[in-house]
């Protein structure tokens, strides 16, 4: 069993602590994605697992082994870097075989392994080329190949696709997903791309400021976020948040023509809550006139309508192509009560 | 029989002296076939700085240098071998008496001479003839001659003071003629103020020449060799120089009919004539490894035959130090020899930069150069030299 377990891991740079006691369990063979805003500690956490950063406190296990202070090379991990980190003076084959060669693996065996990996990644015809002579996607594939060749128990990816253009990114994304299915190793993947996280992950870890906000399967996070941060972070365009008055199990907001019943169990005595509702769950009610259309953006199949509520809040509504509003038009909105979420306006925690 | 290695350092980098020295060493080699002789010839100017280094490290067995004050620092530092034993040998003591003084410090001798030469005025006889001039003997005649030369559109003297020492020659003569040999030596030894009226008189005399335009222009940018063409082309009529200037002048095409020599004129009738005659020397560094061979080499160098040979007109063209040697029939050497042996009652000086301590020599010759360019600065220059004197001799 080669899952990865982090126990109260802490990372400090000098005085400043950047990872604050993370507990995390990644199962064997799982595809785990770290997401979070820039600077939240995704890379740091990954590099701690790789052994490239010292762990200040806490324990990291890979499988049953405590690797907390082990040499990176001994941990049975392989890492794919954002910038690929290919050795520019070596051919593709040499790049892939270099680690084995330096560790005294016999030549024949190296060749076999390189061959296998390049088969998987369809790199056969490029083996003799230098990285410079490859496209971005091919380079990334070589970097992955280099990881595969070493037969690690855990693959680590740090934003591997962010240097590729949009089209290639889609392609490689699919390829990595397929690779994971094929070799079934544990993979930990850092990204700040919504789509990558949603489409690739078995499990998403949402980080903020060196702390875990929520861990879960992609659609679970989407449908059932624990707090306002996760709700706002997952999904694009982001969820709308409205500061509402709350009383008697109903929320009121100037944008809503009448109080909306909510099922969530809001603690007694709270008179203000944050209402969260995704753009696609708002329906425009042309008979109403609570909101003003600020701007519309038609993208073809779908269009986004930016609304201004009477108290100046902003709302984004997703409309299907057939309906369309004009700038300045006054309209109402309607929301299905079972689609909204309610958050504590102070802590951001969700009331379920 | 001598064996081992004998390393000789020489500064005779000009082609003719170099060949002479190499030939002499070759003859010595033939006498001692088992000796491995290694000769290093270093550029003459560079040699002057490098001797410091090679006397303390990577030391040769024999090195040439200059007599008098120029060897004093090395003697004081114990870097030259005491060779009084050689001077005690009859062969040397009997025949080299005239130069013994120049090689003696603290009652001991620290090397042997191998050549010396006279200084004096070399002039274009054909120009003198053309202008109806004759060799002057008094300051008055000198000035009169010079005026005529200038009137003919020439300058009287060529000189190149870029490397300073040539100006030292002029100062030697002017001062010795104005104030006498003893005064001159006292000045070199720091015993007399540079602001003394007698020194000022010397400079006043000098200024007479400068003011009348006796020296070529731009001399401060020329080396002594670069000043030769002025004389060769006839732009200048005379050159106060050592005898070594004769060879390049002849080479440049001046025949003995065109070229002649006279002793520097008397200025102050009350002082006796004294001359510059620098002596070049050989020494054994204290750190030498093969001192036995070195001594043999020194004996060989001063032997009468070698002295005759290396100083003859086709070689160094200078004066032998051994009384038993014969002076070459060359007219300049004969004149010089006579002058030094019979017409120099005042004494014989080595040369300003050998008689004065190095630092003083440097500062003062700079002053001379400046004076020759800007004679009006005389007082300022002398004040500066006086300051230097108090500092240098103080230490």
């Amino acid at each position: 069993m080669t899952g990865v377990t982090l126990n109260q891991t802490i990372k400090r740079y000098g005085q400043t602590q950047v990872i604050h006691g993370i507990d995390l369990q990644i199962e064997d063979g799982e595809f785990c994605v770290f997401v979070g805003p820039s600077g939240c500690g995704k890379s740091t956490l990954l590099r701690m697992i790789a052994g490239l950063e010292e762990t200040s406190e806490g324990v990291i296990h890979i499988g049953a082994r405590d690797v907390t202070h082990m040499d990176p090379a001994k941990r049975g991990v392989a890492m794919v870097f954002q910038t690929y980190a290919l050795y520019p003076h070596m051919s593709v084959a040499e790049n892939m075989g270099f680690g084995l060669r330096m560790n005294g693996v016999p030549k024949g065996e190296i060749e076999k392994k390189v061959q296998e990996a390049s088969n998987i990644l369809k790199l056969d015809q490029y083996l003799k080329r230098k990285p410079k002579a490859l496209s971005g996607g091919q380079r990334q594939r070589v970097a992955i190949g280099r990881a595969i060749v070493r037969g690690p128990e855990v693959f680590l990816f740090d934003e591997p696709l962010s240097n590729l253009d949009a089209e290639l990114r889609v392609e490689m994304r699919v390829e990595i997903a397929r690779l994971h299915q094929e070799i079934g190793a544990t993979m930990i993947y850092v990204t700040h791309d919504q789509v990558e996280a949603m489409t690739m992950a078995d499990k998403i870890v949402v980080l903020r400021d060196g702390r875990i906000e929520q861990v879960g399967a992609p659609m679970d996070l989407y449908r059932d976020p624990d707090n306002r941060f996760v709700a706002g972070f997952i999904g694009s365009p982001a969820m709308n948040f409205l500061e509402c008055d709350f009383a008697d199990g109903h929320v009121t907001h100037p944008a809503l023509s009448r109080p909306l019943p909510v099922a969530a169990s809001v603690p007694a005595g709270l008179s203000k809550v944050t209402l969260g509702v995704r753009p696609e769950h708002i329906k425009i009610d042309r008979s109403g006139d609570t909101c003003t259309v600020d701007l519309t953006e038609a993208l073809g199949g779908v269009s986004y309508t930016y609304l201004l509520t009477p108290n100046g809040d902003k709302l984004i509504v997703e409309e299907r192509e057939d309906q369309r509003s004009a700038t300045g038009e006054r309209i109402g909105i309607s929301v299905q009560p079972e689609r909204v979420m309610v958050f504590d306006p102070e802590t951001g925690l969700r009331f379920r | 029989e001598l064996t081992g290695e004998l390393r000789i350092f020489l500064d005779t980098s000009n082609p003719a002296p170099r060949a002479t020295m190499e030939a002499m060493i070759e003859r010595f080699q033939q006498q001692h076939p088992d000796l491995e002789i290694e000769t290093t010839v270093i550029d003459r100017e560079a040699y002057k700085t490098q001797i410091r280094n090679f006397l303390t490290a990577d030391t040769p067995d024999v090195a040439n240098w200059y007599a008098a004050n120029r060897m004093k620092p090395y003697v004081d530092a114990g870097l030259f071998e005491d060779v009084s034993d050689l001077w005690a040998e009859a062969e040397i003591s009997d025949n080299l008496g005239s130069t013994k003084g120049a090689l003696t410090i603290d009652g001991k001798q620290w090397g042997v001479p191998y050549t010396y030469y006279q200084w004096g005025v070399y002039y274009r006889k054909d120009i003198f003839d053309e202008l109806g001039l004759s060799e002057p003997t008094t300051w008055k005649e000198e000035l009169a001659n010079c005026q005529k030369i200038i009137d003919s559109g020439r300058t009287c003297y060529t000189i190149g003071t870029k490397f300073l020492w040539t100006a030292g020659g002029w100062f030697d003569y002017l001062n010795m003629r104005t104030n006498g040999f003893d005064f001159h030596q006292q000045l070199a030894n720091g015993e007399i103020s540079w602001e003394d009226d007698r020194v000022k008189q010397t400079f006043a005399n000098w200024k007479q020449l400068i003011d009348m335009g006796a020296f070529i222009d731009n001399h401060q940018t020329y080396s002594w060799q670069e000043a030769l063409p002025f004389m060769v082309k006839g732009d200048a009529a005379a050159y106060l120089m050592g005898n070594f200037a004769v060879a390049p002048l002849r080479e440049a095409g001046l025949s003995d009919d065109q070229l002649d020599f006279y002793q520097f004129v008397a200025i102050n009738p009350d002082v006796e004539l004294a001359e510059d005659a620098p002596t070049d020397t050989f020494h054994i560094p204290a750190n030498a490894l093969n001192k036995e061979a070195a001594r043999a080499f020194l004996r060989f160098v001063v032997s009468a035959d070698e002295q005759t040979e290396i100083n003859n007109g086709s070689n160094l063209g200078q004066l032998p130090v051994n009384a038993q040697s014969s002076v070459d029939a060359d007219k300049f050497l004969q004149q010089g020899f006579n002058m030094l042996s019979s017409n120099s009652p005042g004494g014989i000086a080595q040369f300003w930069d050998r008689d004065a301590p190095a630092e003083m020599a440097k500062v003062s010759m700079e002053g001379f150069q400046e004076f020759m360019v800007k004679p009006d600065n005389a007082d300022k220059i002398l004040a500066k030299l006086e300051r230097a004197r108090t500092r240098i001799y103080d230490q």
Binding site: - | D76, K162, T221, D353
Partner: protein, 307 residues
Amino acid sequence: MTVSAELDSESWFHRNQQRIAPWLFLAPGLLFFLFYVIIPVFQSFNLSLYEWDGLGAAEYVGFRNYEDLYWEFSDRDAFYISLKNNLIWLLLYLAAIPAGLFIALFLNQTVKGIRLYKSLFFFPFVISQVVVGLVFTWFYDPTFGLLNEFLGLFGMGPLNVLGDERFVTYGIIFAGLWPQTAYCMILYLTGLNAVDPEQIEAGRLDGAKGFRMLWHIILPQLRPATFIAFVVTIIGALRSFDLISIMTQGGPFGSSRVLAYYMFEVALSEYGFRMGYGAAIAVILFLIMLCFIAYFLWSMYREERRH
């Protein structure tokens, strides 16, 4: 740091590889540098308190060498002249920077054969200062020098540049400017290559042209090149020795000396060998340079902080 309970069988060396490795890599170079550069600097400081002729034993004299320098300074003697000349060098040598910029601008085109022109213009920097010195000595020669021929064309001259204490330092500096300008030129040429074309275009849209474009938009972008040019020019000016040694030996009557040459003269030349005194001059020179070194290190430190 908590020490892991699990101790590998690996050697101590292996475990501490990352901590030891830098020192092993540093050792040879660092030792060399310490012995030949760093320690000698301090030795020179020490030596400047002694009087020593390089032959016998050194005699401790405290600050007397510096006192002597002070007197030389107040008497306007050699040290004063050297110091003054050094300042002239520092100031005038900086002319290499605008001159280099000018030539770089002139050559920053893409016509055919321009590469060859650029390299030929760079020539003077590659050849030895000794040769440069010789070349310019002849250039200035009062009898046949090209300079006087040239001045003659305009009915001026003749000038004995190297023989006149009023001109000699400027003459040598001018010779030194030749290679230094070539150096600055290459720095600016590469700098110009890196100028952001979009900023130039933005400038054009903003109506900046010619000199105003140069001043407001190009020069600020050439700051790194200017900085480097400044540093190397200052260093070059303070180190100037070769040219003086070749062209004038400090003359006429010592009027073209600079500190670097003067200390050599005092310490190692024919009439010199006052080692302590030379060291004291070197210390002064070092202190002047220290201002620039400190400035340079400081700006480098800021740069490092930012990364």
